[in-house]
Amino acid sequence: MKEYVIGIDLGTTYSVVACSQNGKTTVIPNKEGKYFTPSIVYYDSSMTPVVGEIARRKQVIEPERTIYSIKSLMGKFYSEVTNWSSHLSYEVVEADSNMASVKIEDSILYPEEICADILKHLISCAQEYLDETIHHGVVTVPAYFDNRQREATIKAGKLAGLNVIRLINEPTAAALSYGIDAGENTNVGVFDFGGGTFDISILKISGEMIEVIATSGDSSLGGRDIDALLVEHLKAHILKAHPETGLESPAIKIQLQELAKEVKHELSYKEETEIHIPFLAAGSRESTAVNFSTHLTRSDFNTLCKKIFERLFIPCEQALQDAHLAAKELDKIFLIGGSSKIPEVYRLCQEFFKQEPALSLNPDESVARGAAIHSEMLQGDLKEMLLLDVTPLSLGVEVEGGIFEKIIPRNSSVPTLAKKMFTTTQDNQRAVTIHILQGERKLARDNRTLDRFRLEGIPSAPREVPQIEVVFQIDVNGVLFVKAQELSTGKEQEIEVKSYRNIAEDFVDKVVDEAREKSKEDKELVMVALAKRQVYQSLYKTRELLSNNKMLLPSSLVEEWKEILGECHLQLKTFDAETINKVEEEILRIEKDIHQHINERNTQADESKSE
């Protein structure tokens, strides 16, 4: 029996989950029977999360406990979000290692944890619908997500108990859902204007190869910005008519936001819309409630959003340039993402790309469907297809004078690597700090810091003698890995790389620790969960051992062990200590057997050599 691998479109405003079988995708309805689950989490007084539609309804009542747009906080430093986080109805604070996090009463929640709650909900919907336990998933991210945002997404999966087998870029996923039958040698553009992010990707599809040739975008440009503009617009009008009205309470913020969204949606199919806000500002200093009415035409709306719409075509220009293509050389341009439904966006695209864009019936589902298709490709059920993606942003280091030196340029196909030599500037210098950044600007300080690595344990030598080779590797998820080696002495020298990644691991551990502290009653369960983690670890270790040494082992046994380990994996879903114990024994037995076989084999080889 084949395990389902689901595709999840983890959106800023909505999330969608889908699965795929034999190239046929199904969007999985949530518990309310809807295909779209609001990416909103409400935390009740015991901090129990409620996700989706029910959480959305809580928004007006308890706005400070209802978390939305959490995707925009993922992997961000607090200092990066302060300019807009004040618009949110909940509190955003600075947590450990300067990361932005959410505060509800006395609890601090990391964005990863909140995303994990959304993921958990989606997984449980899928499990209910498919009547099967889900362990693995492909999760989508905006193409323009940087390294930290990607790592945060993987971490969220981990916290939700989901093994994220791949991150796939949203426009690429969308292209997969359309592009699989696009034919030979076509250049396709995917214009993805979503709730919080904008991406443009240009792909070359030839037969079974889907190659992303360029991608660009703006990771903080989406429908949300349009809503914010509309809110400001409405506020200004309300204050003009009723200068005394207080509009700053979280409840009113939410009310206005909902209204703005409605207005935006209506203007997509109407030329003009009436706006009524009854009982506005109830609860403000004024004892009498204010009723407010106005109207807005589509052309007013277009004028209001002109600046936002203009911003869309800067990345488009960039992507075409990077792809060495003219707009009219694109064979097809797909518009996806909810905000693409705005008629003016469509018109501007038509003008820019000099062709009729394709707007699918369900542009909001295509990303999840594409993720599901990719999950099938990865499992080998759509064997012939292969997806080649790129890294959206240049990656480099700070060199002398605060200059940013690119090491892996944007739109490089992944997985790829690049090497760079470092040396010391002082005699007997034992450590070097490497400042890694991502971005396109010339000066280091204008780009985003990914990490500062410290290379320690450099052998004592005159300056400029040690040669430290640092290897930057980007994997298929677009995540960066760094390795370092000392070359000059020829001695085996382990250079220690201290990085953000370790902090991230600590964080996952901390969450588990916190859970342990939080509730004494749950102690037993937590202990089991902790013990289980160890068992999972030895399971993964044994699996790795098996796959690393399969050449040395009899293939029939390899298959058998693989199967047993798979079975063990399934059994580990339980919280029953005895079953887990048995599973562990089984895993350890296999590990021992593998070692024994390898040893035997080596002894034989050894003996035959010495003869």
Partner: protein, 240 residues
């Protein structure tokens, strides 16, 4: 090592200055075989093998018309220099930067790196690549030989290469030590002893040689067991 020192066309196994269409076509073929997604047993391996990452690095430069143009110019210039150099001196067989192939040196360096992180099968492969490019290089021979210890089979071939390397460059202690290590693995103690002490005769403070000498001391536990337990340890390390 700057990018300009590598020949990307050789990495892609293409004639030099091939067109972008040819390069893309070739890259697709290679990707169909070597992309991590094609390694079905292990979807978790998101980095893939290093050689494919290198191929991708080559593709990333050559797929871009401007970068390709720059690269091609550099390559032409370098080739010209190389022709001039090799016509004036042909002696430096062991110094590939001057006479041999650059890709060989690159592979060799990567091989050494792999060896350092105890990735023996990759090291084996990379040294073999280096040797294929420059079959007369003593360093490549010696280290290629060394990796036979960790990769099943044909230790005799390892001994042959290691010995040849010493013949070529008799003053290199590391080559002698490599041979000693191979003999030690085979269990040919007297030979291992001979080469280890030859190294120690020239450099009594040589740490690695000292270590081997200690292993050669007749002790209670048999060599075989020692080897097995170290191998086990190594495997233990490889697991992470």
């Amino acid at each position: 090592m700057s990018n300009s020192e590598k020949n990307y066309y050789q990495l892609l196994n293409l004639p030099e200055f091939s067109s972008i269409e040819e390069i893309r076509q070739r890259y697709y073929e290679l990707a169909q075989k070597h992309h991590p997604d094609r390694q079905k047993e292990d979807v978790q391996d998101t980095l893939g093998n290093e050689s494919f990452a290198l191929i991708t690095q080559a593709f990333n430069t050559l797929k871009d018309p401007e970068k390709k143009k720059q690269y091609d110019e550099k390559l032409r210039k370098r080739k010209k220099e190389k022709v001039q150099k090799s016509s004036t001196s042909r002696k430096h067989t062991s110094s590939p930067k001057k006479g041999g192939s650059l890709i060989a040196e690159e592979s060799f360096q990567q091989g050494m790196a792999a060896l350092r992180r105890k990735d023996y099968s990759r090291a084996h492969y990379l040294f073999k690549t280096a040797l294929n490019q420059d079959s007369q290089n003593a360093s490549y021979m010696s280290y290629y030989a060394l990796t036979f210890i960790y990769n099943k089979g044909k230790l005799s071939e390892g001994i042959r290469y290691a010995t040849k390397a010493i013949e070529k460059e008799p003053f290199r202690l590391e080559f002698k030590l490599n041979l000693a290590k191979i003999y030690l693995t085979v269990g040919a103690k007297s030979q291992a002893h001979k080469w280890t002490y030859e190294v120690l005769g020239l450099d009594p403070d040589h740490k690695e040689a000292q270590n081997i000498a200690v292993q050669l001391q007749p002790e209670k536990k048999t060599e075989k067991k020692g080897f097995l337990s170290t191998l086990k340890k190594m495997l233990g390390k490889d697991e992470k």
